[in-house]
Symmetry: C2
Protein backbone atom coordinates (compact mmCIF):
# COMPACT_ATOMS: atom_id res chain seq x y z
CA UNK A 1 0.00 0.00 0.00
CA UNK A 2 1.44 3.40 -0.92
CA UNK A 3 1.80 5.88 1.95
CA UNK A 4 -1.14 8.24 2.58
CA UNK A 5 -0.81 11.42 0.57
CA UNK A 6 -0.41 14.80 2.25
CA UNK A 7 -3.40 17.20 2.13
CA UNK A 8 -1.50 19.53 -0.23
CA UNK A 9 -0.78 16.68 -2.65
CA UNK A 10 -4.37 15.46 -2.44
CA UNK A 11 -5.63 18.96 -3.10
CA UNK A 12 -3.57 19.35 -6.27
CA UNK A 13 -4.78 15.95 -7.48
CA UNK A 14 -8.41 16.77 -6.68
CA UNK A 15 -8.14 20.04 -8.57
CA UNK A 16 -6.84 18.10 -11.58
CA UNK A 17 -10.06 16.07 -11.41
CA UNK A 18 -9.00 13.00 -9.47
CA UNK A 19 -12.19 11.91 -7.73
CA UNK A 20 -10.50 9.59 -5.24
CA UNK A 21 -8.36 12.49 -4.00
CA UNK A 22 -11.47 14.64 -3.60
CA UNK A 23 -13.16 11.91 -1.59
CA UNK A 24 -10.09 11.62 0.59
CA UNK A 25 -10.05 15.38 1.28
CA UNK A 26 -13.69 15.22 2.34
CA UNK A 27 -12.88 12.32 4.68
CA UNK A 28 -10.16 14.40 6.29
CA UNK A 29 -12.60 17.28 6.79
CA UNK A 30 -15.20 14.94 8.24
CA UNK A 31 -12.70 13.46 10.67
CA UNK A 32 -11.67 16.87 12.04
CA UNK A 33 -8.42 17.67 13.81
CA UNK A 34 -5.16 19.06 12.41
CA UNK A 35 -5.52 17.50 8.94
CA UNK A 36 -9.02 18.99 8.53
CA UNK A 37 -7.60 22.32 9.54
CA UNK A 38 -4.86 21.99 6.93
CA UNK A 39 -7.46 21.18 4.24
CA UNK A 40 -9.50 24.16 5.45
CA UNK A 41 -6.55 26.49 5.02
CA UNK A 42 -5.69 25.10 1.56
CA UNK A 43 -9.18 25.38 0.13
CA UNK A 44 -10.16 28.73 1.59
CA UNK A 45 -8.67 31.00 -1.11
CA UNK A 46 -10.50 29.26 -4.00
CA UNK A 47 -13.44 27.84 -2.10
CA UNK A 48 -16.07 30.54 -2.24
CA UNK A 49 -18.18 28.85 -4.94
CA UNK A 50 -21.14 30.28 -6.83
CA UNK A 51 -24.24 28.90 -5.18
CA UNK A 52 -24.77 26.71 -2.14
CA UNK A 53 -28.34 25.36 -2.01
CA UNK A 54 -29.65 23.68 1.14
CA UNK A 55 -32.49 21.15 0.91
CA UNK A 56 -34.16 20.37 4.21
CA UNK A 57 -37.46 19.12 5.67
CA UNK A 58 -38.92 16.28 7.70
CA UNK A 59 -37.84 12.66 7.15
CA UNK A 60 -39.87 11.07 4.37
CA UNK A 61 -40.63 14.37 2.65
CA UNK A 62 -38.77 13.16 -0.44
CA UNK A 63 -35.64 15.26 -0.13
CA UNK A 64 -33.30 12.68 -1.71
CA UNK A 65 -35.50 12.16 -4.75
CA UNK A 66 -35.86 15.90 -5.13
CA UNK A 67 -32.10 16.39 -4.77
CA UNK A 68 -31.59 13.83 -7.49
CA UNK A 69 -33.95 15.74 -9.79
CA UNK A 70 -32.25 19.02 -8.98
CA UNK A 71 -28.88 17.55 -9.95
CA UNK A 72 -30.28 16.81 -13.43
CA UNK A 73 -31.76 20.29 -13.59
CA UNK A 74 -28.48 22.00 -12.70
CA UNK A 75 -26.63 19.89 -15.23
CA UNK A 76 -29.19 20.67 -17.95
CA UNK A 77 -29.73 24.37 -17.24
CA UNK A 78 -26.45 25.71 -15.88
CA UNK A 79 -24.21 23.09 -17.49
CA UNK A 80 -21.76 23.41 -14.59
CA UNK A 81 -20.43 20.63 -12.35
CA UNK A 82 -22.52 20.03 -9.22
CA UNK A 83 -21.39 18.73 -5.85
CA UNK A 84 -23.84 17.14 -3.42
CA UNK A 85 -23.45 16.73 0.32
CA UNK A 86 -26.01 14.54 2.07
CA UNK A 87 -25.77 15.23 5.78
CA UNK A 88 -27.27 12.83 8.27
CA UNK A 89 -26.47 13.71 11.88
CA UNK A 90 -27.93 10.46 13.17
CA UNK A 91 -26.32 8.01 10.77
CA UNK A 92 -23.33 5.94 11.75
CA UNK A 93 -22.57 5.66 8.04
CA UNK A 94 -20.62 8.15 6.00
CA UNK A 95 -18.34 8.33 3.03
CA UNK A 96 -21.09 8.09 0.48
CA UNK A 97 -21.98 4.46 1.08
CA UNK A 98 -25.73 4.82 1.54
CA UNK A 99 -27.12 7.84 -0.21
CA UNK A 100 -24.21 8.01 -2.62
CA UNK A 101 -24.95 4.57 -4.00
CA UNK A 102 -28.64 5.29 -4.24
CA UNK A 103 -28.15 8.48 -6.19
CA UNK A 104 -25.46 7.01 -8.36
CA UNK A 105 -27.88 4.28 -9.35
CA UNK A 106 -30.32 6.85 -10.62
CA UNK A 107 -28.23 7.87 -13.56
CA UNK A 108 -25.57 10.30 -12.38
CA UNK A 109 -22.96 7.58 -11.97
CA UNK A 110 -21.51 8.14 -15.41
CA UNK A 111 -21.53 11.93 -15.21
CA UNK A 112 -18.01 13.04 -14.21
CA UNK A 113 -19.38 16.50 -13.44
CA UNK A 114 -21.46 15.24 -10.49
CA UNK A 115 -19.88 14.40 -7.15
CA UNK A 116 -22.11 12.99 -4.39
CA UNK A 117 -20.98 12.51 -0.85
CA UNK A 118 -22.70 11.53 2.42
CA UNK A 119 -21.49 12.89 5.71
CA UNK A 120 -22.35 11.71 9.19
CA UNK A 121 -21.33 12.97 12.59
CA UNK A 122 -19.50 10.04 14.07
CA UNK A 123 -21.26 10.95 17.27
CA UNK A 124 -20.12 14.55 17.45
CA UNK A 125 -22.83 17.07 16.55
CA UNK A 126 -20.70 20.19 16.80
CA UNK A 127 -18.27 18.51 14.45
CA UNK A 128 -20.80 18.46 11.65
CA UNK A 129 -21.54 22.17 11.91
CA UNK A 130 -17.79 22.69 11.72
CA UNK A 131 -17.25 20.25 8.85
CA UNK A 132 -20.15 21.24 6.58
CA UNK A 133 -18.82 24.67 5.48
CA UNK A 134 -15.37 23.15 5.02
CA UNK A 135 -16.73 20.34 2.87
CA UNK A 136 -18.64 22.84 0.74
CA UNK A 137 -15.43 24.80 0.30
CA UNK A 138 -13.52 21.66 -0.72
CA UNK A 139 -16.10 20.95 -3.43
CA UNK A 140 -16.17 24.55 -4.64
CA UNK A 141 -12.37 24.78 -4.76
CA UNK A 142 -12.16 21.49 -6.68
CA UNK A 143 -14.38 22.58 -9.53
CA UNK A 144 -17.95 22.20 -8.27
CA UNK A 145 -19.25 25.78 -8.12
CA UNK A 146 -22.82 24.67 -7.34
CA UNK A 147 -23.22 22.60 -4.19
CA UNK A 148 -26.47 21.04 -3.02
CA UNK A 149 -26.59 20.26 0.70
CA UNK A 150 -29.31 17.84 1.72
CA UNK A 151 -29.93 17.47 5.45
CA UNK A 152 -31.84 14.54 6.88
CA UNK A 153 -34.41 15.28 9.54
CA UNK A 154 -35.40 18.52 11.16
CA UNK A 155 -33.64 19.76 14.21
CA UNK A 156 -31.24 22.33 15.52
CA UNK A 157 -28.34 20.75 13.67
CA UNK A 158 -30.21 20.85 10.38
CA UNK A 159 -31.09 24.49 10.93
CA UNK A 160 -27.44 25.17 11.70
CA UNK A 161 -26.19 23.27 8.68
CA UNK A 162 -28.77 25.00 6.50
CA UNK A 163 -27.14 28.21 7.69
CA UNK A 164 -24.22 27.25 5.46
CA UNK A 165 -26.40 27.67 2.34
CA UNK A 166 -27.04 30.73 0.19
CA UNK A 167 -30.54 29.47 -0.63
CA UNK A 168 -32.52 27.05 1.53
CA UNK A 169 -35.29 24.93 0.03
CA UNK A 170 -37.69 23.59 2.66
CA UNK A 171 -39.54 20.49 1.49
CA UNK A 172 -43.01 19.76 2.91
CA UNK A 173 -45.76 17.35 1.90
CA UNK A 174 -49.51 17.71 1.51
CA UNK A 175 -51.39 16.83 4.65
CA UNK A 176 -52.82 18.50 7.66
CA UNK A 177 -50.20 19.77 10.02
CA UNK A 178 -47.15 19.60 7.82
CA UNK A 179 -47.01 23.35 7.37
CA UNK A 180 -47.53 23.80 11.09
CA UNK A 181 -44.77 21.29 11.83
CA UNK A 182 -42.43 23.17 9.52
CA UNK A 183 -43.20 26.40 11.34
CA UNK A 184 -42.64 24.79 14.74
CA UNK A 185 -39.30 23.39 13.64
CA UNK A 186 -38.14 26.90 12.81
CA UNK A 187 -38.18 26.23 9.06
CA UNK A 188 -40.31 29.26 8.27
CA UNK A 189 -37.39 31.46 9.27
CA UNK A 190 -34.78 29.65 7.22
CA UNK A 191 -36.84 28.93 4.06
CA UNK A 192 -36.04 30.88 0.92
CA UNK A 193 -38.15 28.59 -1.25
CA UNK A 194 -40.87 26.11 -0.20
CA UNK A 195 -41.33 22.91 -2.20
CA UNK A 196 -44.66 21.17 -1.63
CA UNK A 197 -43.47 17.77 -2.80
CA UNK A 198 -45.86 14.88 -3.65
CA UNK A 199 -48.31 17.59 -4.69
CA UNK A 200 -50.29 15.04 -6.72
CA UNK A 201 -51.67 13.82 -3.39
CA UNK A 202 -54.77 15.23 -1.68
CA UNK A 203 -54.24 18.31 0.48
CA UNK A 204 -51.50 19.98 -1.55
CA UNK A 205 -53.56 23.12 -2.05
CA UNK A 206 -54.37 23.36 1.69
CA UNK A 207 -50.71 23.00 2.59
CA UNK A 208 -49.80 25.72 0.13
CA UNK A 209 -52.50 27.99 1.59
CA UNK A 210 -51.37 27.25 5.15
CA UNK A 211 -47.81 28.19 4.28
CA UNK A 212 -48.90 31.37 2.50
CA UNK A 213 -51.00 32.31 5.53
CA UNK A 214 -48.09 31.77 7.85
CA UNK A 215 -45.86 33.82 5.57
CA UNK A 216 -48.50 36.59 5.66
CA UNK A 217 -48.22 36.67 9.45
CA UNK A 218 -44.44 36.61 9.42
CA UNK A 219 -43.95 40.36 9.61
CA UNK A 220 -40.21 40.36 10.13
CA UNK A 221 -39.52 39.14 6.62
CA UNK A 222 -37.35 41.16 4.31
CA UNK A 223 -37.85 42.00 0.65
CA UNK A 224 -37.83 38.37 -0.47
CA UNK A 225 -41.03 36.43 0.12
CA UNK A 226 -40.37 32.68 -0.16
CA UNK A 227 -42.38 31.29 -3.09
CA UNK A 228 -44.39 28.12 -2.37
CA UNK A 229 -44.07 25.73 -5.29
CA UNK A 230 -45.75 22.38 -5.91
CA UNK A 231 -43.73 19.52 -7.32
CA UNK A 232 -43.65 15.74 -7.71
CA UNK A 233 -40.04 14.70 -7.31
CA UNK A 234 -40.85 11.11 -8.31
CA UNK A 235 -41.84 12.20 -11.84
CA UNK A 236 -39.89 15.45 -12.07
CA UNK A 237 -43.05 17.53 -12.43
CA UNK A 238 -42.57 21.08 -11.19
CA UNK A 239 -38.83 20.67 -10.65
CA UNK A 240 -37.76 23.08 -13.44
CA UNK A 241 -39.94 25.82 -11.92
CA UNK A 242 -38.54 25.03 -8.48
CA UNK A 243 -34.97 25.35 -9.71
CA UNK A 244 -35.88 28.58 -11.51
CA UNK A 245 -37.09 29.95 -8.16
CA UNK A 246 -33.80 28.92 -6.55
CA UNK A 247 -31.88 30.76 -9.27
CA UNK A 248 -34.18 33.78 -8.84
CA UNK A 249 -33.35 33.84 -5.16
CA UNK A 250 -29.65 33.80 -6.00
CA UNK A 251 -30.16 36.85 -8.25
CA UNK A 252 -32.11 38.61 -5.54
CA UNK A 253 -29.33 37.95 -3.02
CA UNK A 254 -26.78 39.40 -5.39
CA UNK A 255 -28.69 42.49 -6.45
CA UNK A 256 -29.81 43.32 -2.88
CA UNK A 257 -26.32 42.96 -1.47
CA UNK A 258 -27.62 40.25 0.85
CA UNK A 259 -25.28 37.63 -0.59
CA UNK A 260 -22.28 39.52 0.76
CA UNK A 261 -23.99 39.94 4.13
CA UNK A 262 -24.96 36.28 4.41
CA UNK A 263 -21.50 35.13 3.49
CA UNK A 264 -19.88 37.53 5.95
CA UNK A 265 -22.22 36.33 8.71
CA UNK A 266 -21.41 32.73 7.82
CA UNK A 267 -17.69 33.32 8.06
CA UNK A 268 -18.15 34.93 11.48
CA UNK A 269 -20.29 31.99 12.63
CA UNK A 270 -17.60 29.67 11.41
CA UNK A 271 -14.91 31.65 13.20
CA UNK A 272 -16.98 31.34 16.37
CA UNK A 273 -17.13 27.56 16.00
CA UNK A 274 -13.41 27.34 15.30
CA UNK A 275 -12.69 29.40 18.41
CA UNK A 276 -14.90 27.11 20.50
CA UNK A 277 -13.22 24.03 19.02
CA UNK A 278 -9.74 25.45 19.72
CA UNK A 279 -10.70 26.16 23.28
CA UNK A 280 -12.23 22.70 23.67
CA UNK A 281 -8.91 21.26 22.55
CA UNK A 282 -7.32 23.27 25.33
CA UNK A 283 -9.77 21.66 27.79
CA UNK A 284 -8.90 18.21 26.50
CA UNK A 285 -5.21 19.00 26.99
CA UNK A 286 -5.92 20.07 30.58
CA UNK A 287 -7.68 16.78 31.28
CA UNK A 288 -4.83 14.79 29.75
CA UNK A 289 -2.13 16.84 31.50
CA UNK A 290 0.18 15.63 34.25
CA UNK A 291 -1.40 17.85 36.94
CA UNK A 292 -4.89 16.38 36.52
CA UNK A 293 -4.55 13.36 38.80
CA UNK A 294 -2.88 15.27 41.61
CA UNK A 295 -5.25 18.21 41.80
CA UNK A 296 -8.43 16.21 41.32
CA UNK A 297 -7.36 14.07 44.26
CA UNK A 298 -6.93 17.23 46.33
CA UNK A 299 -10.43 18.24 45.23
CA UNK A 300 -12.04 14.92 46.12
CA UNK A 301 -10.35 15.00 49.52
CA UNK A 302 -11.77 18.51 49.86
CA UNK A 303 -8.35 20.02 50.47
CA UNK A 304 -8.96 22.45 47.62
CA UNK A 305 -12.19 23.86 46.20
CA UNK A 306 -13.15 23.38 42.53
CA UNK A 307 -12.44 27.01 41.61
CA UNK A 308 -8.93 26.82 42.99
CA UNK A 309 -8.35 23.55 41.13
CA UNK A 310 -9.72 24.98 37.86
CA UNK A 311 -7.38 27.97 38.14
CA UNK A 312 -4.36 25.76 38.76
CA UNK A 313 -5.21 23.50 35.84
CA UNK A 314 -5.74 26.37 33.41
CA UNK A 315 -2.62 28.19 34.58
CA UNK A 316 -0.56 25.08 33.89
CA UNK A 317 -2.15 24.31 30.52
CA UNK B 1 -30.08 52.52 51.08
CA UNK B 2 -27.06 50.96 52.76
CA UNK B 3 -24.32 49.74 50.42
CA UNK B 4 -24.51 46.08 49.30
CA UNK B 5 -22.67 43.80 51.66
CA UNK B 6 -19.64 41.80 50.57
CA UNK B 7 -20.05 38.01 50.14
CA UNK B 8 -17.83 37.37 53.18
CA UNK B 9 -19.95 39.66 55.36
CA UNK B 10 -23.17 38.11 54.03
CA UNK B 11 -21.81 34.66 54.73
CA UNK B 12 -21.02 35.46 58.35
CA UNK B 13 -24.51 36.94 58.80
CA UNK B 14 -26.18 33.96 57.14
CA UNK B 15 -24.30 31.58 59.39
CA UNK B 16 -25.54 33.53 62.40
CA UNK B 17 -29.07 32.83 61.13
CA UNK B 18 -29.91 35.98 59.22
CA UNK B 19 -32.34 34.77 56.57
CA UNK B 20 -32.10 37.86 54.37
CA UNK B 21 -28.34 37.36 54.09
CA UNK B 22 -28.86 33.72 53.12
CA UNK B 23 -31.32 34.76 50.43
CA UNK B 24 -28.83 37.30 49.13
CA UNK B 25 -26.04 34.68 48.93
CA UNK B 26 -28.33 32.43 46.91
CA UNK B 27 -29.11 35.31 44.55
CA UNK B 28 -25.39 35.85 44.00
CA UNK B 29 -24.95 32.16 43.20
CA UNK B 30 -27.91 32.23 40.84
CA UNK B 31 -26.55 35.26 39.01
CA UNK B 32 -23.14 33.66 38.39
CA UNK B 33 -19.89 35.49 37.68
CA UNK B 34 -17.13 36.58 40.07
CA UNK B 35 -19.40 37.08 43.11
CA UNK B 36 -20.86 33.56 42.71
CA UNK B 37 -17.35 32.25 42.53
CA UNK B 38 -16.46 34.08 45.72
CA UNK B 39 -19.50 32.60 47.48
CA UNK B 40 -18.51 29.19 46.12
CA UNK B 41 -15.05 29.45 47.63
CA UNK B 42 -16.37 30.70 50.99
CA UNK B 43 -18.95 27.95 51.43
CA UNK B 44 -16.92 25.01 50.16
CA UNK B 45 -15.12 24.10 53.42
CA UNK B 46 -18.34 23.80 55.47
CA UNK B 47 -20.78 23.03 52.68
CA UNK B 48 -20.74 19.26 52.42
CA UNK B 49 -24.07 18.74 54.21
CA UNK B 50 -25.61 15.49 55.38
CA UNK B 51 -28.18 14.53 52.81
CA UNK B 52 -29.23 16.06 49.52
CA UNK B 53 -32.52 14.61 48.27
CA UNK B 54 -33.69 15.26 44.71
CA UNK B 55 -37.41 15.10 43.88
CA UNK B 56 -38.18 14.89 40.18
CA UNK B 57 -40.87 13.69 37.77
CA UNK B 58 -43.25 14.93 35.10
CA UNK B 59 -45.13 18.24 35.51
CA UNK B 60 -48.36 17.69 37.44
CA UNK B 61 -47.07 14.61 39.27
CA UNK B 62 -47.49 16.42 42.58
CA UNK B 63 -43.84 17.10 43.36
CA UNK B 64 -44.47 20.38 45.19
CA UNK B 65 -47.13 18.95 47.46
CA UNK B 66 -44.93 15.95 48.16
CA UNK B 67 -41.95 18.20 48.88
CA UNK B 68 -44.09 20.13 51.32
CA UNK B 69 -45.01 16.89 53.11
CA UNK B 70 -41.40 15.77 53.16
CA UNK B 71 -40.40 19.03 54.85
CA UNK B 72 -42.79 18.23 57.71
CA UNK B 73 -41.46 14.70 57.84
CA UNK B 74 -37.82 15.80 58.08
CA UNK B 75 -38.71 18.32 60.77
CA UNK B 76 -40.65 15.72 62.77
CA UNK B 77 -38.29 12.76 62.37
CA UNK B 78 -34.80 14.18 62.11
CA UNK B 79 -35.50 17.44 63.93
CA UNK B 80 -32.86 19.19 61.85
CA UNK B 81 -33.23 22.33 59.75
CA UNK B 82 -34.19 21.68 56.12
CA UNK B 83 -33.41 23.74 53.06
CA UNK B 84 -35.48 23.47 49.90
CA UNK B 85 -34.47 24.43 46.36
CA UNK B 86 -37.20 24.44 43.74
CA UNK B 87 -35.56 24.50 40.34
CA UNK B 88 -37.54 25.48 37.28
CA UNK B 89 -35.40 25.79 34.17
CA UNK B 90 -38.23 27.27 32.15
CA UNK B 91 -39.48 29.88 34.59
CA UNK B 92 -38.59 33.53 34.23
CA UNK B 93 -39.28 33.87 37.96
CA UNK B 94 -36.85 33.18 40.72
CA UNK B 95 -35.94 34.29 44.18
CA UNK B 96 -38.68 32.34 45.87
CA UNK B 97 -41.59 34.42 44.62
CA UNK B 98 -43.75 31.66 43.20
CA UNK B 99 -43.14 28.33 44.83
CA UNK B 100 -41.72 29.92 47.95
CA UNK B 101 -44.95 31.75 48.67
CA UNK B 102 -47.02 28.69 47.98
CA UNK B 103 -45.07 26.49 50.36
CA UNK B 104 -44.85 29.16 53.00
CA UNK B 105 -48.64 29.35 52.95
CA UNK B 106 -48.85 25.70 53.83
CA UNK B 107 -47.52 26.06 57.32
CA UNK B 108 -43.76 26.29 57.21
CA UNK B 109 -43.74 30.07 57.18
CA UNK B 110 -43.31 30.29 60.93
CA UNK B 111 -40.70 27.57 61.17
CA UNK B 112 -37.29 29.27 61.30
CA UNK B 113 -35.64 25.92 60.59
CA UNK B 114 -37.10 25.73 57.07
CA UNK B 115 -35.69 27.77 54.19
CA UNK B 116 -37.41 27.54 50.80
CA UNK B 117 -36.00 29.04 47.65
CA UNK B 118 -36.93 28.93 43.95
CA UNK B 119 -34.27 29.12 41.29
CA UNK B 120 -34.71 29.77 37.59
CA UNK B 121 -32.22 29.93 34.79
CA UNK B 122 -32.55 33.49 33.55
CA UNK B 123 -32.22 31.97 30.10
CA UNK B 124 -28.96 30.14 30.67
CA UNK B 125 -29.32 26.37 31.08
CA UNK B 126 -25.68 25.62 31.77
CA UNK B 127 -25.83 28.24 34.50
CA UNK B 128 -28.34 26.22 36.46
CA UNK B 129 -26.23 23.08 36.44
CA UNK B 130 -23.40 25.24 37.71
CA UNK B 131 -25.49 27.07 40.31
CA UNK B 132 -27.41 24.11 41.80
CA UNK B 133 -24.49 22.44 43.62
CA UNK B 134 -23.31 25.86 44.81
CA UNK B 135 -26.75 26.71 46.17
CA UNK B 136 -26.92 23.37 47.97
CA UNK B 137 -23.52 24.11 49.51
CA UNK B 138 -24.66 27.57 50.64
CA UNK B 139 -27.65 26.03 52.44
CA UNK B 140 -25.56 23.25 53.99
CA UNK B 141 -22.87 25.67 55.16
CA UNK B 142 -25.49 27.99 56.66
CA UNK B 143 -27.03 25.38 58.92
CA UNK B 144 -29.37 23.35 56.69
CA UNK B 145 -27.76 19.88 56.62
CA UNK B 146 -30.72 18.32 54.78
CA UNK B 147 -31.53 19.88 51.42
CA UNK B 148 -34.49 18.90 49.24
CA UNK B 149 -34.08 19.78 45.57
CA UNK B 150 -37.30 19.77 43.58
CA UNK B 151 -36.95 20.00 39.81
CA UNK B 152 -39.85 20.95 37.58
CA UNK B 153 -40.37 18.93 34.44
CA UNK B 154 -38.36 16.09 33.01
CA UNK B 155 -35.50 16.74 30.70
CA UNK B 156 -31.76 16.69 30.38
CA UNK B 157 -31.38 19.62 32.76
CA UNK B 158 -33.47 17.91 35.41
CA UNK B 159 -31.43 14.75 35.07
CA UNK B 160 -28.28 16.84 35.39
CA UNK B 161 -29.54 18.73 38.40
CA UNK B 162 -30.71 15.47 39.98
CA UNK B 163 -27.07 14.43 39.65
CA UNK B 164 -26.39 16.88 42.47
CA UNK B 165 -28.45 14.74 44.90
CA UNK B 166 -27.37 11.87 47.15
CA UNK B 167 -30.81 10.29 46.83
CA UNK B 168 -33.22 10.91 43.96
CA UNK B 169 -36.96 10.37 44.40
CA UNK B 170 -38.79 9.96 41.10
CA UNK B 171 -42.50 10.81 41.36
CA UNK B 172 -44.93 9.11 38.99
CA UNK B 173 -48.73 8.86 38.95
CA UNK B 174 -51.13 5.99 38.38
CA UNK B 175 -52.16 5.64 34.78
CA UNK B 176 -51.17 3.76 31.73
CA UNK B 177 -47.88 4.91 30.27
CA UNK B 178 -46.52 6.90 33.18
CA UNK B 179 -43.98 4.26 34.08
CA UNK B 180 -43.01 3.96 30.43
CA UNK B 181 -42.66 7.73 30.17
CA UNK B 182 -40.42 7.74 33.22
CA UNK B 183 -38.23 5.09 31.64
CA UNK B 184 -38.04 7.00 28.36
CA UNK B 185 -37.03 10.18 30.15
CA UNK B 186 -34.06 8.35 31.65
CA UNK B 187 -35.55 8.42 35.16
CA UNK B 188 -35.16 4.67 35.69
CA UNK B 189 -31.40 5.20 35.77
CA UNK B 190 -31.44 8.09 38.22
CA UNK B 191 -34.17 6.86 40.60
CA UNK B 192 -33.15 5.67 44.06
CA UNK B 193 -36.75 5.63 45.29
CA UNK B 194 -39.99 5.68 43.28
CA UNK B 195 -43.04 7.46 44.70
CA UNK B 196 -46.33 6.48 43.06
CA UNK B 197 -48.17 9.62 44.11
CA UNK B 198 -51.99 9.98 43.96
CA UNK B 199 -52.06 6.24 44.61
CA UNK B 200 -55.71 6.49 45.74
CA UNK B 201 -56.57 6.79 42.06
CA UNK B 202 -57.23 3.80 39.76
CA UNK B 203 -54.22 2.18 38.18
CA UNK B 204 -51.76 2.65 41.05
CA UNK B 205 -51.14 -1.07 41.33
CA UNK B 206 -50.52 -1.41 37.57
CA UNK B 207 -48.04 1.48 37.63
CA UNK B 208 -46.22 -0.13 40.54
CA UNK B 209 -46.10 -3.46 38.69
CA UNK B 210 -44.87 -1.77 35.47
CA UNK B 211 -42.05 -0.10 37.38
CA UNK B 212 -41.11 -3.33 39.16
CA UNK B 213 -41.06 -5.14 35.80
CA UNK B 214 -38.84 -2.51 34.31
CA UNK B 215 -36.55 -2.68 37.31
CA UNK B 216 -36.41 -6.48 36.83
CA UNK B 217 -35.16 -5.94 33.29
CA UNK B 218 -32.63 -3.34 34.34
CA UNK B 219 -29.72 -5.70 34.72
CA UNK B 220 -27.02 -3.09 35.22
CA UNK B 221 -28.31 -2.10 38.63
CA UNK B 222 -26.07 -2.31 41.64
CA UNK B 223 -26.84 -3.63 45.11
CA UNK B 224 -29.63 -1.10 45.75
CA UNK B 225 -32.96 -1.84 44.13
CA UNK B 226 -35.15 1.29 44.13
CA UNK B 227 -38.26 0.61 46.22
CA UNK B 228 -41.59 1.58 44.64
CA UNK B 229 -43.81 3.22 47.25
CA UNK B 230 -47.40 4.40 47.01
CA UNK B 231 -48.37 7.72 48.58
CA UNK B 232 -51.02 10.44 48.55
CA UNK B 233 -49.18 13.71 49.01
CA UNK B 234 -52.45 15.64 49.34
CA UNK B 235 -53.34 13.79 52.57
CA UNK B 236 -49.86 12.77 53.68
CA UNK B 237 -50.67 9.06 53.40
CA UNK B 238 -47.57 6.96 52.75
CA UNK B 239 -45.18 9.89 53.20
CA UNK B 240 -43.58 8.58 56.43
CA UNK B 241 -42.75 5.27 54.70
CA UNK B 242 -41.41 7.18 51.70
CA UNK B 243 -39.13 9.27 53.88
CA UNK B 244 -38.01 6.12 55.72
CA UNK B 245 -36.97 4.66 52.34
CA UNK B 246 -35.03 7.82 51.57
CA UNK B 247 -33.20 7.52 54.90
CA UNK B 248 -32.58 3.81 54.20
CA UNK B 249 -30.98 4.74 50.92
CA UNK B 250 -28.72 7.20 52.70
CA UNK B 251 -27.60 4.42 55.07
CA UNK B 252 -26.99 2.09 52.15
CA UNK B 253 -24.86 4.75 50.42
CA UNK B 254 -22.79 5.20 53.53
CA UNK B 255 -22.26 1.53 54.38
CA UNK B 256 -21.48 0.56 50.78
CA UNK B 257 -18.97 3.36 50.30
CA UNK B 258 -21.07 4.68 47.42
CA UNK B 259 -21.67 8.01 49.14
CA UNK B 260 -17.97 8.84 48.89
CA UNK B 261 -17.93 7.73 45.26
CA UNK B 262 -21.00 9.76 44.30
CA UNK B 263 -19.69 12.85 45.99
CA UNK B 264 -16.28 12.48 44.36
CA UNK B 265 -17.90 12.06 40.94
CA UNK B 266 -20.07 15.10 41.60
CA UNK B 267 -17.06 17.24 42.45
CA UNK B 268 -15.33 16.14 39.26
CA UNK B 269 -18.46 16.94 37.22
CA UNK B 270 -18.57 20.32 38.85
CA UNK B 271 -14.89 20.92 38.14
CA UNK B 272 -15.60 20.09 34.50
CA UNK B 273 -18.40 22.67 34.36
CA UNK B 274 -16.22 25.29 36.05
CA UNK B 275 -13.45 24.65 33.53
CA UNK B 276 -15.89 25.04 30.65
CA UNK B 277 -17.28 28.24 32.17
CA UNK B 278 -13.77 29.66 32.68
CA UNK B 279 -12.92 28.91 29.09
CA UNK B 280 -16.17 30.45 27.88
CA UNK B 281 -15.22 33.61 29.74
CA UNK B 282 -11.97 33.56 27.82
CA UNK B 283 -13.97 33.37 24.58
CA UNK B 284 -16.11 36.31 25.63
CA UNK B 285 -12.93 38.28 26.34
CA UNK B 286 -11.63 37.48 22.85
CA UNK B 287 -14.84 38.77 21.28
CA UNK B 288 -14.72 41.93 23.33
CA UNK B 289 -11.01 42.49 22.68
CA UNK B 290 -9.50 45.28 20.59
CA UNK B 291 -8.27 42.92 17.83
CA UNK B 292 -11.75 41.55 17.06
CA UNK B 293 -12.93 44.24 14.64
CA UNK B 294 -9.72 44.32 12.64
CA UNK B 295 -9.25 40.62 12.13
CA UNK B 296 -12.90 39.84 11.45
CA UNK B 297 -12.81 42.47 8.70
CA UNK B 298 -9.78 40.71 7.20
CA UNK B 299 -11.75 37.47 7.38
CA UNK B 300 -14.87 38.88 5.72
CA UNK B 301 -12.73 40.37 2.96
CA UNK B 302 -11.19 36.91 2.63
CA UNK B 303 -7.68 38.22 3.17
CA UNK B 304 -7.23 35.71 5.99
CA UNK B 305 -8.84 32.33 6.58
CA UNK B 306 -10.83 31.58 9.76
CA UNK B 307 -8.12 29.34 11.24
CA UNK B 308 -5.50 32.02 10.89
CA UNK B 309 -7.86 34.57 12.46
CA UNK B 310 -8.72 32.23 15.36
CA UNK B 311 -5.02 31.70 16.09
CA UNK B 312 -4.34 35.42 16.12
CA UNK B 313 -7.28 36.13 18.42
CA UNK B 314 -6.36 33.41 20.89
CA UNK B 315 -2.69 34.36 20.87
CA UNK B 316 -3.61 37.92 21.78
CA UNK B 317 -6.19 36.98 24.43
Amino acid sequence: MPPAREPAVLYEAARRGERAALGRLLSLVERGGPAARQVGRLTFPDGQGDHVVGITGAPGAGKSTLTDRLISEVRAVLEVPVGVLAIDPSSPFSGGAILGDRIRMQGHALDPKVFVRSMATRGHLGGLALAAPEAIRVLAACGYPVVLVETVGVGQVEVEVAGAADTTVVVVNPGWGDAVQAAKAGLLEIADVFAVNKSDRPGAEETRRDLENMLDMNMHMGAWRPPVLPCVAATGEGVPALWAAVVDHRSHLESSGELQERRARRLLDELGRILVASIEEQLTAVRAGSAWDTVTRELIERRKDPYQVADELLAGA
